[in-house]
């Protein structure tokens, strides 16, 4: 049986249909374009922030003070990603900082490439997150001044420093206390230590970071991985960073040590006209060779070359550095 058609049905003219379809297409493209532009804008903002952030690090980088400190507060929750490149950006490698800021409850992700800095060395964990970050720097000498290393920790992360051996770590304890960072705790500071505090032990085993350091050398064990350290500056670097970043930055530092060794070797020729002679030429050559082919033998380079050079230079009448 064929039912009679309902003649009260909604009738739509072709003009309406056409307008709706084209309107939908236009709306789709408009929404697509707006989303794309928003993403690009977020990316641009992240790149601009990271560039400005790296410029802000300039005063920390070349200070003469043993340890200087500052803090940076972002308006929103921010992820700072440390990108250390020791392979492609030769001859000095490069330090990049990528910044992702929270927008609509999640972190923006940018694929835009940030220009790196070959003359900066930032020691942090691969990704740190927060609104406020504490920064401080210390000069690294090997045996001459190579660079100021910059350390960066989020204010929400607490570090509890255990008992420090007075002979080896007294200076570093004073320096860290002088920084007056709200998230650094010491054994005898009389403050209540938070539960989630990262323990840093200088004597014996603990769940946190183990430091085995005597007479300016030793090693730091963090997350089950061991990092060789020479001097207070690298020791702090190993505590606040992680193995991947630490090894990369040390390799970059070695490249700069080599270049500076070459520079001082060349300087010998210029100062000799003023009867200012130096017998460090061959050792500086060896230091250049060793550091250009650096393969993780930090302690060996220090014992075989850096310490003897330091001793000879200390006694020299004519100082090269």
């Amino acid at each position: 049986m064929i039912r009679a058609m309902n003649k009260k049905g909604f009738e739509m003219s072709f003009a309406w249909l056409f307008a709706i379809i084209v309107g939908m297409v236009i709306l789709f493209f408009a929404i697509f374009a707006v989303t794309k532009i928003m993403k690009t804008e977020e990316g641009i903002l992240d790149v601009r922030t990271s560039k400005e952030f790296q410029i802000l690090l300039n005063p920390l980088e070349t200070s003469f003070e043993s340890a200087i400190a500052t803090s940076i507060t972002f308006p929103v929750e921010t992820q700072i990603i440390n990108v250390c490149d020791n392979r492609s950006s030769l001859p000095f490698g490069s330090q990049k900082i990528k910044i992702n800021q929270k927008s609509f409850g999640k972190f923006t992700k940018t694929d835009l490439d940030v220009k790196g800095f070959p003359n900066k060395y930032i020691l942090t964990e691969k990704i740190i997150q927060g609104k406020k970050f504490y920064l401080f720097s210390k000069p690294f000498e090997f045996p001459f001044k190579v660079a100021n290393l910059i350390y960066m920790v989020p204010s929400e992360k607490h570090y509890c420093f255990g008992e420090m051996n007075e002979d080896d770590l007294d200076n570093i304890k004073d320096e860290l206390e002088d920084l007056n960072k709200g998230n650094f705790y010491f054994e005898d500071d009389g403050k209540v230590h938070p539960e989630n505090c990262i323990e840093i032990c200088f004597n014996g085993n603990c769940d946190g970071i183990e430091v085995n350091y005597q007479e300016g050398k030793g090693y730091v064990t963090k997350n089950g991985k061991t990092m060789d350290v020479i001097g207070d500056t690298l020791m702090l670097g190993a505590i606040f960073s992680e193995k991947e970043i630490y090894d990369c930055e040390v390799q970059r530092l070695m490249l700069r040590v080599g270049s500076l060794a070459k520079l001082y070797k060349e300087k010998i020729n210029f100062v000799s006209r003023a009867n200012c002679n130096s017998n460090l030429g061959s050792q500086l050559d060896s230091l250049f060779e060793k550091t250009q082919n650096y393969n993780g033998d930090l302690t060996e380079i220090n014992n075989a070359l850096v310490e003897p050079i330091r001793e000879i230079h200390k006694e020299a009448d004519c100082k090269l550095w």
Binding site: S13, A15, E52, I55, P91, K115, K267, A274, L320
Partner: protein, 178 residues
């Protein structure tokens, strides 16, 4: 021949209207984009300028330039002229430092004691230290400049003993805009 109906004409009008509106928005979008890009370039230049100004202020303390303890004690804003000449030689022989500071060139003018003529310190002429202008790279000309006053020290010999000679100089950082 089939006669055109009124409805067909309306559809045509609407189609043309929609295309015109779309084109209008595309053009507005492109216009905004052009303004945005020029703004980006401007802010990139501003960042470049800011960076070079900071660099001029801090470069003297960089290990490649700083006096360190060569002239007794640690001095801030002191450049070792002997080291700069050594650096100039290294830069001439290799491209190692070309992009290290992210700038085009670095110049140092000795301004006190004053001299009537500017004499460039050239490695091939061997006229150092009887010169008052050091340019790290001789193959690059032009660019925008930021400067800072520094003390320029070197070792000298008076026939009997070696002494430190320090003069006043101007450090100029030359950078390129985008």
């Amino acid at each position: 021949m089939v006669k055109r109906k009124k409805g067909q004409l309306k559809i045509q009008q609407m189609a043309f209207m929609l295309i015109a509106v779309t084109l209008f928005f595309v053009m507005v979008g492109m216009f905004v984009l052009v303004i945005k890009i020029s703004g980006l370039r401007e802010s990139a230049n501003l960042l470049e300028e800011e960076e070079s100004m900071l660099l001029a202020a801090k470069l003297a303390n960089s290990p490649e330039f700083a006096c360190g303890e060569s002239f007794g004690g640690t001095a801030i804003g002191c450049i070792d002229a002997d080291k700069v000449m050594a650096l100039k030689k290294i830069i001439k022989d290799s491209t190692k430092y070309n992009k290290f500071w992210g700038i085009q060139n670095i110049e140092i003018y000795r301004i006190y004691p004053p001299e009537e003529t500017i004499t460039e310190c050239k490695l091939e002429d061997g006229n150092y230290p009887d010169c008052n202008f050091i340019r790290l790279r001789e193959d690059i000309e032009g660019g925008l400049r930021s400067s800072n006053f520094i003390s320029l020290c070197r070792k000298e010999f008076d026939g009997t003993e070696t002494y430190d000679q320090c003069d006043i100089a101007k450090l100029i950082v030359i950078y390129k805009t985008q």
